[in-house]
């Protein structure tokens, strides 16, 4: 790590939930596990882990919706900033810094940086955006996770047993009330492993209306209107084998609805390059 960065910038993953793949990360490759899979399968160079994650998250954003990104959510923040610029529709982007449709000159290191209300015509602070979600006014909420299970329940509290945790995590912020009340929740992991995609969570921080999980290898979807519905594989990153994803996923899933992933568009690629001009965000995934 050479760039200074906010401590909370890393995805909320405890070491215990991170992959223990052999070898050290290779510069330019987002993480060793994905790189191994990509190499074995001869993956197409259209995507990097970084571009796949941000663009798949951005594609969850829909016209006219109220969309939110919170703390420790750089990839979700980038997805919202990308969608503002690359997609031919309007939506409302609110964030934990209090911004409403902000237009920061550049994407800040932290997803709670005050520049996220630059150009904002209003401050819609914590009490307001939580209340909005709780009363059913939040269409899409990006919420992080350390562990996630097949029904989209998340753990951001601890690893180990609740009585004697091995690792204490930062906690859910508002997840315990936002996951059940947002109309749709989207989450992500920067690695794809059976340590974080689990059959059984060490602790259930929040449960509710999870719709989409994006990893460097795949996109899973479930119907948030069906309590207990399980994730199904929706898209595979080109070049990634289904068996490899099954081997690295701690829960069983259906692949019946699997569809081909659309390649990144020129607008998506160009906007992402503008948002990360010196590759700092992409490099951060390597750590």
């Amino acid at each position: 790590m050479t760039d200074p960065a906010e401590p909370a910038r890393r995805d909320a993953a405890p070491e215990a939930a991170r992959p223990r793949a052999g070898g050290s990360p290779t510069p330019g490759l987002a993480n060793p596990m994905a790189a191994d899979i990509a190499a074995q399968a001869g993956a197409t160079p259209a995507w990097t882990d970084f571009s796949w994650l941000v663009i798949q998250l951005a594609r969850c954003i829909r016209e006219g919706e109220v969309t939110f990104s919170g703390v420790n959510s750089s990839l979700a923040m980038l997805a919202c900033l990308l969608a503002q610029r690359a997609y031919p529709f309007r939506f409302t982007y609110i964030n934990v810094a209090g911004g409403v449709d902000p237009h920061p000159a550049r994407a800040p290191v932290s997803s709670s940086d005050p520049s996220l209300f630059e150009g904002s015509p209003a401050i819609f602070a914590n009490a307001d955006f939580y209340d909005l979600c709780l009363r059913g006014g939040m269409d899409l909420c990006f919420l992080g996770c350390a562990q996630i299970d097949a029904t989209g329940r998340t753990n951001v509290s601890l690893i180990g047993s609740p009585e004697a945790p091995r690792v204490r995590l930062p906690g859910g912020g508002g997840a315990v009330v936002m996951l059940p009340t947002a109309r749709r929740v989207v989450t992500w992991r920067i690695e794809h492993s059976s340590r974080s995609l689990v059959e059984r969570l060490d602790f259930v921080t929040a449960a509710g209306r999870m719709a989409t999980l994006v990893t460097p290898l795949a996109v899973f979807e479930r119907d948030p209107d069906l309590p207990g519905a399980r994730f199904a594989l929706a898209r595979l990153r080109p070049g990634v084998e289904l068996d490899a994803v099954r081997a690295r996923t701690g829960f069983a899933f259906s692949a019946d609805g699997l569809q081909a992933a659309e390649p990144p568009t020129a607008a998506e690629r160009e906007t992402l390059a503008i948002l990360d001009p010196d590759g700092r965000f992409a490099a951060d995934l390597v750590r």
Binding site: P114, I123, G208
Partner: protein, 166 residues
């Protein structure tokens, strides 16, 4: 957010605050949260017990000699926190005349009668930000993550207040 519900209960002088969500979370068990039934209907909601802090300390951009405090940008949780606490202490970037605040009274987050004491602490939010005066000091935050021996002393040595005290 459940914490804020507790603060809101305290601010409003009631023993608990109903809140949406929470169902399905282990946090209800570990925190001992219980549900109540809507007395006007059948809905069951979680009730978060009141949280009444003894002291709230907030950092403001401007304060006058009486304790009227202004916060620019997002107030995060300053509002419920200062209303819930028994005592409120304010640190601020700079002292301004009361007349300056009176020109735009809607910008004052905490009126003086709720504030027990103020201190002027230039760059007091460091290594965090104080909008619009300065942004986040990311290198300092990174250094703050260091947990090796002497790290706290090095952090305090680097703090802006240090210069003022020397």
């Amino acid at each position: 957010m459940t914490l804020v519900s507790g603060l809101r209960a305290a601010a409003q002088g009631v023993p608990f605050m109903p809140i949406a969500g929470v169902f399905g979370s282990d946090l209800a068990r570990t925190n001992g949260w219980r549900t109540v039934r809507d007395p006007y209907g059948d809905t069951e909601v979680y009730a978060i017990p009141a949280v009444r802090p003894d002291v709230a300390v907030i950092h403001a951009a401007e304060v006058d000699a009486l304790g009227n405090a202004r916060v620019f940008g997002t107030p995060f949780w300053d509002h419920p926190l200062t209303r819930a606490a028994r005592r409120v202490l304010v640190t601020a970037e700079r002292l301004v005349p009361t007349g300056h605040l009176a020109r735009q009274p809607e910008l004052t987050l905490v009126p003086h009668f709720m504030v027990e004491a103020v201190a002027i602490v230039d760059h007091g939010a460091w290594p965090g930000s104080c909008h619009p005066l300065y942004g986040v000091d990311y290198p300092a935050l990174q250094a703050w993550m260091d947990d090796s021996p002497g790290a706290l002393a090095r952090h305090l040595e680097a703090a802006p207040e240090r210069e003022a005290h020397d």
